[in-house]
């Protein structure tokens, strides 16, 4: 039984008929890593934000269900929604540089959630924070907990954000391109760390990325998004062996080959774009008609 199950989710720019997500459906089970891939603007992050209830004010959810452990979040009052999210979900944000409050020390930023939501006392929460920093391989946790974010490097901060995400033993973590803002050598370590933590805690992970290489390393299943429409949802083995949608095939072909660095980059062909655009239009026509 899946822990997060989204069905029929549509989001539009507030007050217009422009949909940014078009009847999105996907589900993630405990212990599963689900990749959400697509080019920029496809709506990958939007799905994560919709689940967590942090959509910008300029967009609104117009239909669909977001079921978390069997309860539809969208029917809950805001306070209850927030409580549920706080108890069972966490976010690993994209940019470690802006994801920590610059004016607060690291310690309280990790322990806040434990104190606020789980009702732990400060001392116990702090012990847990030390433990977590050990788990993400940060040396000298006591000093780090007393530091301000600007005193730490990007990779260090991302480790802290990962520790913080796993702090309250969430059932679901949404990782919004957690390695995009890091340099390549650090990316690999962070990816490994996320995988390690996810397996140890048996967390459901929704992994937003535009990097198919990352998907192949960490995910079990994936959804390919184009223009807010899920064009293909499948398991990773099937996808990399034989992607069924033309757009998926083009996306896969566009990935630079490590084995052949001389090969020129292949863009997604115009014909495929036209085809997938037509599909999006068809979905919209049906939606307007219905």
């Amino acid at each position: 039984m899946s822990f997060l199950s989204i069905s029929n989710l549509s989001v539009r720019i507030a007050g217009t008929t422009t949909r940014l997500l078009r009847d999105v459906a996907l589900s993630v089970s405990p212990g599963e890593v689900h990749g959400l891939v697509g080019e920029s603007g496809a709506g990958k992050s939007m799905i994560g934000k919709a689940v967590l209830g942090i959509l910008p004010r300029s967009v609104e959810i117009i239909s669909g269900q977001i079921e978390l452990d069997g309860t539809d979040l969208l029917t809950l009052p805001p306070a209850e929604h927030r409580r549920r999210i706080g108890q069972s979900c966490a976010l690993i944000p994209q940019d470690p540089m802006t994801a920590l409050n610059p004016s607060r020390r690291i310690g309280p930023q990790i322990t806040d959630r434990l104190v606020d939501i789980l009702g732990w006392n400060r001392a116990k929460a702090r012990e847990r924070a030390v433990e977590l920093l050990h788990e993400v391989h940060i040396p000298d946790p006591d000093r780090i907990l007393r530091s301000y974010p600007h005193e730490l490097s990007g990779g260090m901060r991302q480790r802290i954000l990962i520790a913080s995400a796993f702090a309250a033993e969430p059932k679901l973590i949404i990782a919004d391109e957690p390695t995009t803002a890091l340099d390549v050598t650090v990316q690999k370590q962070i990816l490994k760390l996320i995988k390690e933590m996810q397996e140890r805690h048996n967390t459901a992970l929704l992994f937003v990325t535009h990097d198919l290489g990352v998907v192949s390393k960490i995910c079990q299943s994936l959804s390919v998004l184009y223009g807010g429409l899920v064009v293909e949802a499948t398991d990773v083995h099937g996808f990399f062996r034989a992607p069924s949608h033309a757009y998926s095939r083009a996306l896969l072909a566009a990935t630079p080959k490590y084995t052949d660095p001389e090969a020129s980059l292949t863009p997604v062909p115009d014909a495929v774009i036209t085809e997938v655009n037509a599909q999006v239009d068809a979905v919209d026509r049906e939606w307007r008609g219905g």
Binding site: R82, C89, P93, T98, E151
Partner: protein
């Protein structure tokens, strides 16, 4: 790296010391004006009119900074004048800050209709010429300390609102407020616990700047005789009176001007110095 930063933190710098020192001295002068003043600031003595300051040969002993055309002691009047100046600076500055910063914070973080209302209000406000607006306000409210304070607050809240709004917007667009909300914080608590501390250095700098501006506004209003009653000594009033006799007795206008200048400068420098100390990245 850690150690390098803490070195920066410890150095207060002459800027902070000098401006803080001058303002402290001024505050003491205001509080103890009745003890410190060598003469009654209102006592006139036409035989002692336009006496020069102490280093000039014809100076009258006991009148350090000379006397004005009515024979009143300039030093005593400056000391008493600092009462009005500092009262206006503190009260008007703080009120302006509270109102302007709150509106700016709400507008910048909550956005939506709150932002629309506050932003339009700022636009409308900014279209009024401030000096004329304040003169008009005092004319309607009647002169007096409270009127001056109200006038300054009414005119200057936009200065805070605009800057704090922009700053709150920039902070709100970062990832950490969103992360805080995912961790169960309400929007209001996110605004107060996460956003406010990051906007605080800016607010502090603006606050002291505003105190300096309040002193100037009070002086301008005194200059055009729209401040408090003409009996009470104010720096602006002294400058206005001194202007008439500038060729015969330059000291009547110069000493209050210097005091005013140093005070306003100290406020702005204090703000800059404090801002650095409040800034977490520089701290």
């Amino acid at each position: 790296m850690l150690d390098g930063r803490s070195q920066v933190r410890r150095r207060a710098g002459p800027r902070l010391w000098l401006s803080g020192g001058w303002l402290t001295a001024l505050a003491l002068a205001a509080i103890f004006a009745s003890f410190l003043s060598p003469h009654d600031p209102l006592a006139q003595d036409l035989f002692l009119g336009r006496m020069p300051p102490f280093w000039v040969d014809s100076a009258e002993p006991g009148y350090f900074l000379g006397t004005d055309s009515l024979g009143r002691d300039v030093l005593s009047r400056i000391l008493y004048g600092s009462r009005v100046a500092l009262t206006v600076a503190l009260i008007a500055g703080t009120l302006t800050c509270l109102i302007g910063a709150s509106l700016g914070l709400l507008a910048g973080y909550l956005r939506g209709w709150v932002d629309v209302v506050v932003s339009r209000l700022i636009d409308i406000w900014m279209a009024f010429p401030p000096v004329l607006f304040s003169i008009l306000l005092i004319a309607v409210l009647g002169p007096g300390l409270i009127s001056i304070i109200i006038a300054i607050v009414v005119i200057d809240w936009t200065r805070f609102a605009r800057v704090v709004r922009a700053e709150a917007m920039a902070q709100g667009a970062m990832d950490y407020p969103a992360s805080a909300q995912v961790a169960g914080r309400t929007r209001l608590s996110t605004m107060l616990v996460e956003i406010l501390p990051n906007v605080l250095p800016t607010i502090v700098a603006l606050l002291t700047l505003e105190m300096g501006i309040a002193v100037i506004v009070e002086a301008i209003l005194s200059f055009v005789n729209l401040s408090i009653s003409t009996d009470d000594p104010t720096w602006g009033g002294m400058i206005s009176e001194g202007r008439v006799s500038i060729y015969q007795a330059w000291w009547v206008i110069v000493f209050p001007l210097i005091t005013l200048f140093l005070t306003v400068l100290s406020f702005s420098q204090l703000g800059e110095g404090l801002k650095d100390r409040f800034d977490p990245v520089l701290r």
